[in-house]
């Protein structure tokens, strides 16, 4: 056997390697597309609910409040799931940064519109579910991971009774910055629970207390 064997091996190896890497890159792209699609579905749902809300507002009809609450809760669940999804893609750092940041900005905007809609429905229908706006930072926040764990624990316990909107403060999204200014948020984590600002890390007991003060009928109280 001469050195031909090594050259032959190199040719075959390079071909297999190239197929593997290209196939892998193609699959990676499919993953981003999937996330984009999920985001689009959520946007669609949100626009749908907003339209229903406008209709309700115009007609001043109270009959549909239970229906609207159901819609709000569905919206909350969906945005929560999508939030988790986005967050986990972020941790993984396996998606191209520019694509990801564009997606994430988009998601944060959707989330805030979602929150505003739900707050309105809550007021109009006098609903007693909790809304939590959670500002976090990936840059200088030691306690954000713990805060995240506390919130997912509460979500697991309260299910439909709590809606959590997690906002990434580092992205430079105009509306997030506007909220930060109007609520005077400079440190992380910060929670806005039913419109009230709570700065710094709230551990499980503190957060439970705040929620129970708001509605003592919650299962955790």
């Amino acid at each position: 056997m001469g050195n031909m064997m090594y050259i032959k091996t190199a040719l075959v190896t390079t071909a297999i390697f190239a197929v593997g890497v290209l196939l892998g890159m193609w699959m990676g792209e499919q993953k981003v597309n999937e996330l984009e699609q999920t985001l689009n579905v959520l946007k669609g749902n949100l626009e749908d609910t907003e339209l229903q809300f406008m209709f309700l507002d115009t007609m001043k009809s109270n009959i549909s409040c239970s229906y609207l609450n159901r819609q709000a809760s569905q919206l909350g669940t969906e945005s929560d799931q999508l939030g988790k999804e986005v967050e986990r893609y972020e941790i993984s750092q396996k998606i191209d940064e520019t694509t990801f940041n564009a997606l994430k900005k988009n998601y944060n905007i959707v989330l805030i519109r979602d929150w505003l809609t739900i707050e309105k429905i809550k007021q109009m229908c006098d609903a007693k579910y909790a809304t939590v706006l959670y500002f976090y930072s990936n840059k200088n926040c030691d306690k954000c991971q713990d805060q995240g764990i506390v919130l997912s624990y509460l979500k697991g316990k309260l299910k439909q009774d709590i809606m959590i909107f997690a906002l990434d403060s580092d992205l430079g999204v105009n509306i997030v910055d506007a909220l930060k200014v109007s609520y005077d948020i400079t440190s992380y984590p910060t929670l806005i629970i039913n419109g009230e600002v709570h700065r710094g890390y709230s551990d499980l007991n503190q957060t439970t207390q705040i929620l129970c003060d708001y509605n003592s009928n919650f299962s955790i109280c």
Binding site: M1, T13, G24, K31, D146, Y153, D203, L204
Partner: protein
């Protein structure tokens, strides 16, 4: 895509592993028809079979009986009981009294020492080494001697198989030995064998004497002699049909001990013969085999550490949740599933594609190994063997290499532990 250092390393390592796998596969396909074909012997020279035995009362008789049952006519059997504190020597005595074997008793123990002592009384032009925990099949020798028609051949090794595998560890090794058979036979085609395994290898006596016999200081005298033979211009061949059965380590601890000795021995020997590495004088052995063996070790170690690191990282959030909200099984499991699912999902797709590719290639290699060893696939009985091998072997290998590396670093302290 993030082109970080770890990605570059991983792509490089993948390319190398792929290259190495493809290399052997191509060699297999080119030589497929002659892999189970040994040269016909023109003469039947006298062969001395040396059995070094150190406290082997449980297996020595099987080894002796297998030698006596060989169909090869011109032979003698010499048992060298070295440093025995059990009944090994006693069991051998009755065979010695019948004149069936020659028994040498040594106070000191050591395999190389025993082999050298046996060589002094051996009468054969060729000699075999048979570990006392191994046994020949009746026609093993006939298949090997034909290779010695070529005067450049210094040693011929057999096809080692795990005898009657019972434990999971032994079953994994049964498959591993098929992989070893595959590499050994293909390596023999391009003269790159760097181990002459203890179970049933045959040597040319005058050559071994000329190059100074077995190295009594080496941890792995069977590897050291292989390097020395080739350093002196001799080649090593393999017969895939010369079957020798051996008892493989029963437990994980035994296996790790064995591998520490092998791997640490490899480090030592490679260091001792470093002038052969990347030396064109030693052809494929120097330019391809030894360097690639070293690179494989580095990759196996790195991958092992990566898996270890990832496993710890995966557990971080679930465990942290226990401290943040107290014990909540539901949350813990939820976080755990999330971690594992994410790990799988966010592993870059090309890694998944490559892993699948390697798995298929691994299966193909085992199949080729079975073909070379003349074994049937026998899925009905051997399915667990293959499954254990595919699932756990790379981790096992990593663990063994890690232990060996640790050993190299602290060898003075653990030296006693592996000597048994």
């Amino acid at each position: 895509m993030y082109m970080q250092l770890d990605v570059v390393f991983m792509l490089g390592a993948t390319y190398f592993m792929l290259y190495s796998t493809v290399f052997w596969m191509l060699l297999y396909f080119e030589n497929k028809h002659i892999l189970r074909h040994d040269p016909k012997p023109k003469s039947f020279p006298f062969i001395s079979i040396l059995i070094p035995a150190h406290n082997e009362e449980r297996s020595i008789e099987r080894a002796i009986k297998s030698c006596l049952g060989l169909t090869y006519p011109n032979k003698e059997v010499i048992v060298i009981a070295n440093g025995c504190t059990d009944k090994t020597a006693e069991l051998c005595k009755k065979y010695a009294e019948d004149g069936q074997i020659t028994l040498i008793e040594l106070k000191e123990s050591g395999k190389a020492l025993a082999m050298n002592a046996g060589l002094k009384v051996a009468k054969g032009e060729l000699f075999c080494c048979l570990d006392a925990d191994s046994s020949f099949r009746s026609d093993s020798l006939e298949n090997m001697i034909g290779y010695f028609e070529d005067p450049k051949v210094g040693a011929v090794c057999s096809s080692v198989k795990v005898l009657d595998p019972k434990t999971i560890i032994q079953k994994v090794q049964w498959v591993e030995y098929m992989f070893a058979t595959y590499l050994r036979k293909l390596g023999s085609m391009i003269n790159v064998l760097y181990v002459v395994p203890g179970p049933g290898s045959m040597y040319r006596r005058d050559v071994i004497s000329k190059i100074g016999g077995f190295n009594e200081k080496s941890l792995v005298e069977d590897m050291e002699i292989a390097f020395r033979l080739q350093d002196n211009g001799y080649t090593i061949k393999n017969s895939a049909k010369a079957d020798v059965d051996t008892i493989a380590p029963l437990s994980l601890l035994d296996l790790i001990k064995q591998r520490i000795r092998w791997h640490a021995g490899f480090y030592d020997t490679a260091k001792q013969y470093k002038h052969m590495i990347f030396n064109p004088k030693y052809s494929h052995l120097g330019m391809w085999m030894i360097p690639s063996a070293i690179i494989w070790v580095l990759i196996v170690l790195t991958v092992f550490f990566k898996i270890l690191y990832d496993s710890i990282a995966l557990m971080a959030v679930p465990i942290k949740s226990l401290f943040v909200v107290g014990f909540d099984l539901q949350l813990f499991i939820e976080k755990l599933i999330e971690s594992f699912w994410d790990y799988f999902r966010f592993t870059p797709s090309y890694v998944i594609v490559m892993s699948l590719m390697f798995t298929f290639m691994g299966i193909a290699v085992i199949y080729m190994g079975l073909k070379i060893a003349g074994e049937k696939v026998d899925l009905r009985n051997k399915f667990p063997f293959y499954a254990f091998y595919l699932i756990g072997y790379s981790l096992l290998l990593g663990l063994c290499w890690l232990s060996a590396s640790t050993f190299i670093l602290f060898r003075g302290k653990v030296n006693k532990w592996i000597k048994w």
